[in-house]
């Protein structure tokens, strides 16, 4: 166990160094396309890590996590829309602090309300009810003509955080990467705090936790809200990255993709989402250039990982080390 966790730290460190150096180096070497790929990867990893808090730590498989990405993104897009087009003075702003606070607040509220209802259910029912709530957001966004409805909304100008310029790819990547490090650290600390131990204990055996006089519901709800807030934050970054938002971000298959990234990387390790999203994007990148039929090998790989690699990529690597 000791050896294995040391290797994890070592390998994780290499991974993070690669993420810190490679895209920036490529950018200054004139390969400006790569930083886009890495930025998307890192934002997805942040969202994935927030889902890990639910899925891996608390054992709560949310199938509606993309809703928070959407809420966070619209919390940036809508103030910019008004600031550009006029109207709703109380909301309109290019100010990043205002937009990101809004993203966090809205995500927290939505998580609090839907979490309080969803957490009454377990297992498959939890999967389905979280999906139901995110589908409601999806259909709500589709009907909001003011914000482009199905056609989505252009974000005319990125969030302003002077002196940082979010339309500078290096600055944006720096913020995203720094956020990823922070989120990894916070989730790691949470997992090893009393809070995290209660969540994990409740995941193993709920009755025992109840018997010891602790009500896991409150802990789970708090975890649910935290995960929502982090994902909402990732959504706000996503709006700044793609400068375009649409209800498509919230559709159920997006939530599915997030979940698949985690399972692919390993749902029982904090670096699982990062590894998973890296592999997901790498596969998509390499295979989609090879053929328009790239979903075939992609599907086969997903299948093989499940059939022969329990615990995702990280699970496979760990077993190699132990044997």
């Amino acid at each position: 166990m000791e050896a294995s966790s040391k290797t994890s730290i070592f390998v994780g460190a290499i991974f993070l160094v690669v993420l810190a150096v490679v895209p920036v180096a490529l950018f200054y070497a004139g390969e400006i396309f790569w930083i886009d790929i890495f930025t998307r990867l890192v934002i997805l990893a942040i969202a994935g890590t927030s889902l890990y808090l639910l899925l891996g730590v608390a054992g709560l498989p949310s199938f509606g996590h993309a809703a928070y990405l959407g809420l966070g993104a619209y919390a940036v897009g809508i103030p910019v829309h008004y600031a550009t087009m006029g109207g709703a003075e109380w909301l309109a702003s290019y100010n990043g602090w205002w937009q990101f606070s809004l993203a966090i607040l809205v995500s927290a509220l939505f998580a609090l309300v839907t979490g309080a209802i969803s957490l009454r259910t377990r297992g498959v029912h939890f999967i389905m009810i979280t999906m139901a709530f995110s589908q409601m957001i999806y259909y709500a966004l589709i009907s909001l003509e003011e914000y482009g409805a199905d056609d989505g909304l252009s974000v005319y100008s990125p969030s302003e955080f002077p002196p940082l310029l979010l339309d500078n790819p290096i600055h944006l990547y720096g913020i995203c990467f720094g956020s990823l490090l922070l989120v990894l650290y916070v989730v790691h600390r949470l997992q090893h705090s009393r809070f995290g131990r209660v969540l994990q204990a409740a995941k193993q055996n709920e009755t025992r936790v109840l018997a010891s006089g602790v009500n896991p519901f409150k802990y789970r709800l708090l975890a649910y809200v935290m995960a929502g807030v982090i994902a909402g934050y990732a959504g706000a970054l996503m709006a700044n990255f793609s400068l375009f938002i649409s209800p498509d971000m919230v559709e159920w298959s997006r939530s599915g993709e997030l979940m698949f990234m985690i399972i692919l990387g390993g749902s029982q390790h904090i670096l699982g989402p990062l590894v998973g999203s890296s592999l997901f994007i790498l596969l998509e990148f390499v295979l989609s250039r090879w053929s328009i039929y790239w979903h075939l090998p992609f599907g086969i790989i997903l299948l093989l990982v499940v059939l022969f690699g329990r615990g995702g990529i990280i699970g496979m690597l760990r077993r190699d080390k132990q044997s």
Binding site: L55, P61, I117, R120, T121, R122, G123, V124, H125, I127, M128, I129, M131, A132, F133, Q135, M136, Y139, A140, I142, S143, E145, W252, S253, G256, M259, F260, I263, L264, S267, Y293, H295, L296, F298, G299, I300, I301, L302, L303, V305, V306, L307, R310
Partner: protein, 306 residues
């Protein structure tokens, strides 16, 4: 309100519900008995449509196409069950989701490679192309046929589950999985049989819808989520629950589309109602599921003794 229109819409709702039932019957059984979340159920629906349409176009006979859909899907389902699905029964739900999502991608791409992106359209036999008038209500005869087939299947399943030995095992499995092994049942064969039967029913739904819409890539991915909603609302593993929930959802969806805008216009300006009604009617089934789950976390008819 116009009574003829009301009856017409009720029949339309019934037809949608029956189709959803065909699709969710297999889902709820595999879910309840094998504890398997099978997203790839959507692919059987699609394959049923493509197999059936291909044979129907080639032979000119819709009936032959119908049976080809069943046989084709049975074969594919059996191969997949033996090769892949049987290894997933003991895995957790997340692994099952990922693996069956992989299967969907594979099936969609193979269909694209074999049949091209255009999809297949088939003609109905002349007998079914027209309408029938039932006491002032005129309905497309083909939709009546769908309702008939669906109700027959429902009756057949009811008989199978409640009056046969296999049915007893299925009921036993849905309420207490471990008991099956203790009874000395060949669990592997039972699981394979239930899986293939469910897949074939999805295939039937697929070929039945093809003359109305068409066989197209990913057609099942659109409707599978609704089928899951049916399963959850009805109670996992309950055929009766799936039937009731499918009809409820068929009705709610149809009536929502048909009358919600008029209802909204009574309480809000016409322009707001026009935008709000389609959004709300699309949300209705999810709203229903959220409400039912928050009141009855195991659905309407959960099998007892779980």
């Amino acid at each position: 309100m116009d009574i003829v229109l009301l009856i017409t819409q009720a029949v339309n709702g019934l037809q949608l519900g029956v189709l959803l039932f065909l699709l969710s019957a297999g889902l709820t059984l595999t879910f309840g008995i094998m504890d398997l979340i099978n997203l790839a159920h959507a692919s059987f629906y699609m394959l049923g449509a493509f197999f059936g349409a291909t044979v129907a176009i080639y032979t000119g006979s819709f009936t032959l196409g119908f049976f080809a859909a069943i046989i084709g899907v049975l074969i594919v389902a059996w191969v997949i069950e033996k090769g892949i699905i049987s290894q997933l029964y003991t895995r957790d739900h997340l692994d099952q989701l990922l693996a069956t999502f992989g299967l969907i991608l594979i099936a969609d791409t193979l269909v694209h490679m074999i049949w091209g992106p255009a999809g297949l359209a088939i003609a109905l036999p002349p007998l079914l192309q027209g309408q029938v008038a039932l006491g002032g209500v005129t309905l497309p005869s083909y939709r009546i046929l769908i309702i008939g087939v669906g109700l027959l299947v429902a009756l057949g399943l009811y008989w199978l589950v409640n009056h046969t030995r296999t049915g007893m095992l299925i009921r036993a499995g849905a309420s207490n999985r471990r008991m099956l092994g203790n009874l000395g049942v060949d669990v592997g064969s039972l699981f394979a049989a239930v899986f293939c039967m469910g897949a074939a029913l999805a295939g039937v739904a697929g070929i039945l819808i093809t003359p109305i819409t068409e066989a197209s890539i990913g057609m099942g991915n659109d409707i599978i989520i609704t089928a899951f909603v049916v399963v959850i609302i009805g109670g996992i593993g309950s055929i009766k629950g799936a039937f009731v929930a499918a009809i409820i959802i068929g009705m709610i969806d149809t009536f929502g589309r048909a009358f919600l805008d008029q209802i909204f216009m009574m309480i809000m300006p016409a322009e707001t109602a026009e935008t709000a009604a389609p959004a709300v009617s699309a949300m209705l089934i999810y709203l229903l599921m959220a409400i039912i789950l928050s009141l009855r976390p195991a659905g309407l008819f959960p099998p007892k003794l779980r």
